[in-house]
């Protein structure tokens, strides 16, 4: 299309007939341009509408169950005015420990890919499986940890849930760490090496520092992702009706509680499920926005 149209459009006005043609052509080109622009605007509006609709639904249905009791009382049976305290605390503990286990591993793998492996066969395989892990259905990861930890050690435990979340954290941190390390200019590396510093010091003292914000963002995004995960916790940390912070025992979590309450017959449980959904979404969105602010300041 381009060559002919462009030459026609850009042609110096010749005889009157050509001018009319080119004017008509110009009009149709501009009309098409306007239509496409309008469609793009509409697409963006639709995308934003989805987000607004999700948030509005959560606020509208979540407010009914939201009260101070939600934060001060643990889960109770229907009709007993329960809250979500144990689930909130359980989610915080498991998410943080999961991230604490997964982050160092992910960081080292990302470092390996960016600094040591580059395009070696092993490096490419590691990169590939890490990306596969990124889109693996989380229920299968829960199942795997069940077979590896829960079954042999005779019992559900919060630590099993943490491990399942850690497996999900790893590939996210790997991806951002590698991307961020690769962005560091070669000149900076050469300068450090030129000063006689060993490579590991260059990586830990210079590269990590330079890529700190980017890596932090990755970790925060990973935390946001696992904070909302239901499936991997169902068969690992199981859930707990009572207040428990013992890592060797089953532990409650918000997503699992939401999952179980949302389908119950009792209105107070359903309200709590929506309140929990509102809390978790706001929490996750807040982490995301913080992550973006961190990244923005850094780059």
């Amino acid at each position: 299309m381009s060559a002919t149209t462009l030459s026609a459009a850009g042609a110096i006005p010749g005889p009157a007939k050509d001018l009319r043609v080119s004017e008509a052509l110009g009009r149709s080109r501009h009309r098409r341009n306007m239509i496409v622009k309008a469609l793009c605007f509409a697409a963006t509006a639709i995308g934003l509408l989805f987000l607004a609709s999700i948030l509005a639904t959560l606020v509208w249905r979540g407010m009914a169950g939201l009260s101070l009791t939600v934060f001060t009382t643990s889960t109770l049976p229907p009709g007993s005015n329960g809250g979500l305290l144990n689930a909130i605390v359980g989610s915080l503990i498991q998410t943080l420990i999961g991230a604490a286990i997964g982050t160092p591993i992910g960081l080292m793998v990302g470092t390996y890919l960016a600094e040591y492996a580059r395009d070696s066969a092993l490096g490419n395989s590691v990169r590939f499986v890490s990306d596969v892990l990124l889109s693996a259905p989380s229920i299968l990861i829960g199942l795997f940890v069940y077979q590896l930890v829960v079954n042999p050690f005779n019992g559900f435990s919060a630590i099993a849930g943490c491990l399942a979340l850690a497996v999900i954290v790893i590939p996210i941190v790997v991806r951002t760490t590698e991307d961020m390390l690769r962005l560091i200019p070669a000149t900076l590396r050469e300068a450090v090496i030129g000063l006689g510093a060993p490579k590991w010091k260059m990586i830990t003292l210079v590269c990590y520092r330079a890529a700190r914000e980017g890596i932090m963002t990755g970790v925060l995004l990973a935390i946001a992702r696992v904070a909302g995960e239901t499936a991997p916790l169902l068969f690992t940390s199981l859930g707990n009706l009572n207040w428990s912070t013992d890592l060797t025992k089953p532990m409650a979590s918000l997503p699992v509680t939401i999952y179980q309450y949302a389908g119950s017959a009792f209105q107070d449980w359903i309200d709590l499920a929506w309140a929990g959904a509102l809390l978790i979404t706001l929490g996750v969105l807040a982490i995301n926005i913080i992550a973006r602010l961190v990244l923005r300041r850094g780059v």
């Binding site: 049976p77 009709g79 079954n151 435990s157 630590i159 199981l238 428990s244 890592l247 089953p250």
Partner: protein, 343 residues
């Protein structure tokens, strides 16, 4: 990695402040989860036992107790006898519940519509497709039924509710028994699946002409329109605590092996035909007898003091004679490593 995990677990466990009551962990069926939670709350004050029950599904509950990852398993369907014996488990009922048929026909109110078992089966077979089908209209002379397609809805997730409902259809309809059968999920000849009781209820409510089945508590709490069903004695019964209890009192508990009593389609004028018990599974050879003893202590408390709580949440308490028989079975069946009864 195992070492690191264990080390981390030990360190962190040491840091936590868990001075707690004795905890019982159970997992399994979703159907009794609300009443177990209710009993757990009340029993904590009375017995000092803290119950943690998680609804992961009956199949999950069976697997967990076979693997001994929990103190007790819970299942809506009685466990297969060979698997139960292989895993050395003892099974007994805790409470009962009922499944009801819900409808969404414009102009028809709750318990107005009358159906019999084969008609329900034929709707799910796809043989009856319209609400004004002559067979339905014949049974419901007083009401005008619309010329509207029936939209059958079923539980798509594996569930005890489906097991009970499909058992009922198998009991009343030989074709169903031969072609479909009963299990926690079956191959439905027609209809739309939905996840959970809430999914079925919402789909039926969203669809004029909708037809489905849910646990009684779910229908009652959400004011869903139910249908009256003709029972074995030939009378039309509506779902209520009274008709559920009637079915339970007519059942043959004494001759049921492993307490796996069949409460479906019981005789008796007032019996609601779709009733079932939900079960608890305990190891016969507990490695840690104290934990099994705690479970029995908890259930014993629930048998003695939990009936009112059960009816409050629309569950049906067990007949007194059955409770006595279960208590006796504990002494006979569950023995510690020293060979002495745990309770």
């Amino acid at each position: 990695m195992n070492f690191a995990t264990t080390a981390l677990a030990v360190t962190l466990a040491g840091l936590t402040w868990s001075a707690q009551a004795q905890q019982i962990t159970g997992a399994g069926a979703t159907f009794p989860a609300p009443i177990y939670a209710k009993w757990g709350e009340a029993a904590k004050a009375a017995t000092g036992l803290e119950l943690n029950y998680q609804a992961i599904g009956s199949g999950g509950g069976q697997t967990q107790i076979v693997n001994r990852t929990v103190d007790f398993g819970a299942s809506d369907a009685p466990m297969a006898v060979d698997r139960m014996e292989k895993a050395n488990l003892h099974q007994f009922p805790s409470v009962m519940g009922a499944v009801v048929v819900i409808v969404n026909i414009p102009g028809v109110t709750t318990n107005q519509l009358k159906l019999d078992g084969t008609m329900v089966a034929d709707i799910y077979h796809g043989k009856i497709t319209k609400w004004n089908d002559p067979r339905i209209q014949e049974m419901n002379k007083g009401i005008t039924l619309p010329n509207r397609a029936i939209a059958p809805v079923y539980r798509a997730d594996g569930s005890g509710t489906t097991y009970v409902f499909a058992s009922y259809l198998s009991a009343v309809d030989p074709t169903w028994k031969a072609k479909v059968g009963a299990a926690t999920s079956v191959k439905w000849p027609t209809g739309q699946g939905a996840r959970g009781n809430d999914g079925v209820a919402a789909t039926v409510q969203n669809t004029p002409g909708g037809f489905g089945y849910v646990e009684f508590a779910y229908a009652k709490q959400n004011n869903l329109a139910t249908a009256a069903i003709r029972n074995k004695a030939g009378s039309f019964v509506v779902p209520s605590m009274e008709t559920f209890s009637a079915a339970a009192s007519n059942a043959d508990w004494a001759n049921a092996k492993h307490f796996a009593v069949d409460l479906i389609d019981q005789a008796g004028e007032k019996s609601w035909p779709i009733v079932s018990a939900t079960f608890i599974l305990l190891p016969k050879d507990p490695k840690d007898p104290a934990r099994s003893a705690n479970v029995m202590k908890f259930i014993d408390w629930a048998y003695n003091s939990g009936d009112a709580l059960a009816t409050g949440l629309d569950y049906v308490p067990l007949p007194a004679a059955v409770k006595t028989a279960v208590r006796g079975s504990w002494t006979a069946e569950i023995k510690g490593p020293d060979g002495k009864p745990v309770r």
